[in-house]
Structure formats: C-alpha cells, structure tokens
C-alpha cells in the first residue's frame, strides 16, 4: 500500500491517500480513531456530506490498526493556482463556512490549506476528510495564520495588483509569506482596521515571537464567541472582495471577425462531431468563457474549459453558478506554460499534463488557438501536434488561414522576422499533424477564413 501512496499525502500523520484498483482510497491510523469515530457517531460527517461541504465517503473496512474509507471519486483535481478570482474566493468562503459549522458542533479545522479544496459538480468542495479535530474550549484557531497566507493573502494581492497574483501560489505552496504580503500592500491598508489587524499586526506579532525557540510565550485564550467573530468578519470581508479588471477577451465574441452565421455553423459542426463520438469527457484548451462548450447539446459528464485569461474563466464560472451547471470545470491555464509538478520531489502537486493525461478526455477542442501557439509562442506544428496527442485520442482543431485578420495582426507584429513564419499554412499544418493524426473530416467555415479539422490519433 505504501507503494501506491499518493505523493501529495505525507504531511498529516493521521493517515494517507492511496490508489487501489484505480480508485482513490484513504487509510486512517489509530492516532485519528477518536476523532474519526466522533465525527461519524455524532452524525457530523453526514451533515457535511448532505450540505455538500465535504467529499462524501464510505467506510470499507475497520480493524484495530487501520480504517479504510473510499471517497467519491473526483474526475479532475484542480489546484489553487489554476482557479480564477471568484473560484478562489468561493474556496476561501467554503473553508470559513466549514470552520464555523465545525465550531458549532464541537470540532475545528486543524489546517486551512487551499489545497484542501477543489472544484466538483459546479462548486468548491472540501476534500481533506482528516482535517477535522476536536475543538478545545477557549483555544485560538491553530489554522488561522494558514488561512491568511493561503486565502486572504492571494485574494488581497489579486484585488490590489490583478488576478495574475494568484499564480504566485505556484511558488508559495505553503502560503504567501506574511512579511512579503505586508510590503506589497498599499499604505491605505494600514488604515483599515480589518486589514491592519489581520495582516499588518499579524506580521508584527510574527516578527516579535519568531525568536521564541523554546515556545515559552503563552498563547492567550480565545473564547469561542471571539473566534466566531474572526471567522464571520473574514467571511464578510472576502465575500465583498472583487477585482477591478477588464479583459482583452471579455468581449471577444463581440469584436471577433466571426459573422453570426459562421459562428453558428462552427458551433453546429462541433456539436455534431462531439455527438458522433458519444463524447463523455472533453477538454477545451483555450475555451474562453465556455461559449462553445455550452452550445454542445450532447450530454457530457465532465468538460474542462481552460483559458489563459482570468476574466474569461471568471465569467465562465459565474455563468455556471447562475445556470447551476455541474459538468463544467473552468480553469486558468497558459498552454505555453501549464502548471508544473511542485513541492517535495516535484510530485507533491502533480503537473497539469500528468493530471490531464490521467483524466484522458475523449475529445480535445482547440478553437482559435493554433495561431496563438504558433505565431505568438513560436511553437512548431510538430510540437503542438505532439502536445495534443499526449492526452487525448480525438482532436477538434480550428485553423485560421493566413488571410484571417488575427493571423495578419500576429504576423505583422513579427516585423522583419515575418518571413520566418512563412511556414504558417494549411498545407504545412496538415502535413505535420498527419504524422500523428488521421484527418477524419475537414470543413471550411463559410464566410470565415478558417478551417475546422476533426482528427483521430493514429
């Protein structure tokens, strides 16, 4: 079992996650039995499941030395640095909501890592079943600082400096260092009592006590009422937090060179191909706000919709919340730099490519993307063909011809190197992709200088 232990599961001695028969399971050790039994017997686990706060699990076996549980299998685990602003916000609110609910039932979260949350069935979901511990009367929240560095810090930086700040979590997987955070926040945050106490004062107290190697400083007592005040005020503040940004893609479909009939033609074509394959899972790489995935009438189990632009992903996410769509997972992804493997051994947080290969979607959509990869990213057709072939068997790809205005614009920015991109043509594209894929269908979109390809891995 130790061999199949999940590489991210080593920090908590209460148990670990492992894979058996392709299923993710969790082993629990006697050190956590008391908590586990109390959570079960009091019905608190069931309450959390019922309110869709915690991933539901079933107990598989129970002995004196270990308990095995099997959580509901989540098709794709996304990480904090792949979330848009509003997704991040929801994950923070979920964590606070769970902490308040736990306190009211005699429990407390022993950690508040952003990696304890992922997105499933159109909402944020807590996935670390062993994060719950007993609440000891009048004890402050042990995970308070972790909550600040994992949630409030990135959200504040995004608020003041833009959504790209959320990507900082790729470097700081244990949370944004509090001293760095204070230096990056504008002076006016010191005048705000909420921010002053939660950030600047916290940093001061950290500095003051970090030389305390013997642990002699006696942590003050904190009543439950006082802790609930902290939790509630954090919730109120984060709920109202927003970003002031507009997107270059935000109104993309309004200013694009697509006539409405061409747009519909393309959507119908994708729909018919997806239908033909009886697709259950797909990924739209560069899917903007999910417009094309929403035009698919075929019933999908899971559709991952990625885009580089936070605003598009955010718009996608708020749309799915309003429509109560459960199958879409919007994610922020730069195709030219997908999330790498991180943490200890570079395996604690799996790379995006490993996860997407495991997910192995039936179909990949790459619409209006290849000209950006090729002309902005200088990625050759051979390289992008290999990239797409690495994670899915079918590819629906749109090729904007040289005459397309976007392509022209991208080519013109190349200046004197423009000639270097003479290879950008339909013939060369087909030649490179035909080495790995079979062209099942090829359709030119009327009234648009673009061609749609339906490709199958050889």
């Amino acid at each position: 079992m130790e061999n199949t232990r999940h590489t991210s599961s080593f920090r908590d001695p209460s148990g670990f996650v492992f894979t058996e028969d392709n299923l993710l399971k969790r082993i629990i050790f006697p050190i956590y039995f008391k908590q586990y039994n109390a959570l079960n017997d009091s019905g608190f686990f069931n309450k959390l499941f019922h309110n869709q706060l915690l991933v539901p699990h079933q107990e598989l076996k129970k002995s004196a030395t270990e308990i095995h549980i099997q959580p509901e299998q989540i098709p794709f685990i996304s990480y904090p640095y792949e979330w848009s602003f509003n997704q991040y916000k929801e994950a923070a609110l979920l964590t606070l909501k769970i902490q308040k609910y736990s306190l009211e039932h005699g429990f407390s979260l022993k950690d508040a890592s952003a990696f304890n949350v992922t997105f499933h069935n159109g909402q944020a979901l807590f996935i670390d079943t062993l994060s719950f511990d007993f609440y000891n009367e009048n004890e402050p929240w042990r995970a308070y600082k972790q909550f600040i560095t994992h949630f409030l810090a990135p959200l504040l930086l995004a608020h003041y400096h833009g959504a790209q700040s959320l990507k900082m979590m790729t470097n700081f997987i244990d949370g944004i260092p509090i001293n760095m955070l204070t230096s990056m926040l504008p002076f006016k945050t010191k005048l705000n009592p909420f921010l002053y106490s939660n950030i600047h004062l916290l940093a001061k107290f950290e500095d003051k006590h970090n030389e305390d190697y013997e642990g002699t400083a006696n942590p003050k007592k904190l009543s439950k009422k006082a802790q609930l005040n902290i939790i509630t005020s954090l919730y109120d503040y984060i709920k109202k937090l927003n970003i002031k940004e507009y997107s270059e893609w935000g109104n993309y479909y309004e200013k694009t060179n697509y006539a409405q009939d061409a747009f519909n033609y393309k959507a119908d074509l994708i729909n018919s191909w997806v239908h033909k394959l009886n697709t259950k899972t797909l990924i739209d790489v560069g899917g903007n706000d999910g417009t094309f995935v929403r035009r698919i009438t075929h019933k999908l189990d899971t559709a991952i919709v990625c885009d580089i632009d936070n605003n598009a992903v955010d718009f996608n996410y708020t749309t799915l919340k309003i429509n109560k769509e459960k199958h879409i997972i919007p994610l922020v992804l730069d195709v030219l730099n997908p999330s790498a493997g991180l943490g200890f051994n570079n395996t604690e947080r799996d790379s995006f490519l490993n996860r997407i290969q495991q997910f192995s979607p039936d179909v990949t959509l790459a619409l209006a993307l290849i000209h950006h990869i090729t002309l902005s990213g200088n990625v050759t057709f051979n390289m992008s063909a290999n990239f797409f072939a690495s994670f899915s068997k079918h590819l629906i790809i749109e090729f904007p011809n040289r005459e397309d205005s976007w392509v022209q614009r991208l080519l013109n920015t190349k200046g004197e190197f423009k000639a270097h991109f003479d290879f950008y043509s339909e013939e060369n594209f087909e030649e490179a992709y035909s080495k790995i894929f079979t062209i099942v269908e090829k359709v030119s979109i009327p009234n648009a200088k673009r061609t749609m390809y339906f490709l199958k891995l050889k």
Binding site: L93, Y144, P193, F194, H209, I230, D236
Partner: protein, 63 residues
Amino acid sequence: MYFLYFDPSVGAMIVQAIVATVAGVILFSKNLMYKIKTFFGLHKHQDDLYEDINVDDSDVDKK
C-alpha cells in the same frame, strides 16, 4: 493533542485576541447600521452569488 505538521506560529495564536476584538467592533457596527437602514427602509437586497456563512441545518433534520 494536536499533531503539528505545520507551524501555527506563536505570534499568530496571540494576535487572535486583538483580531477578534477588532472583528467584534466591526460586526457590531455593521449590525447596527443594518438595523438603522432597515428601520428607515434603506436596505437594498442584493442578489448574491455566494450564500451567507450559516449552514441551514433544518434541511438535514428533515431528511
């Protein structure tokens, strides 16, 4: 007993007493403003994407 596999930081434990006091004042004044606004009929109901912090237990009991 807690299993400390990360550092909660002594400073962060101590500072919570002050943070909670500030939070208490903020929440108290917000509640007061809310009541005043409601009294004068100034309170606007906002359509929120996010629910409030409380979990509705009545649903669970009905089950």
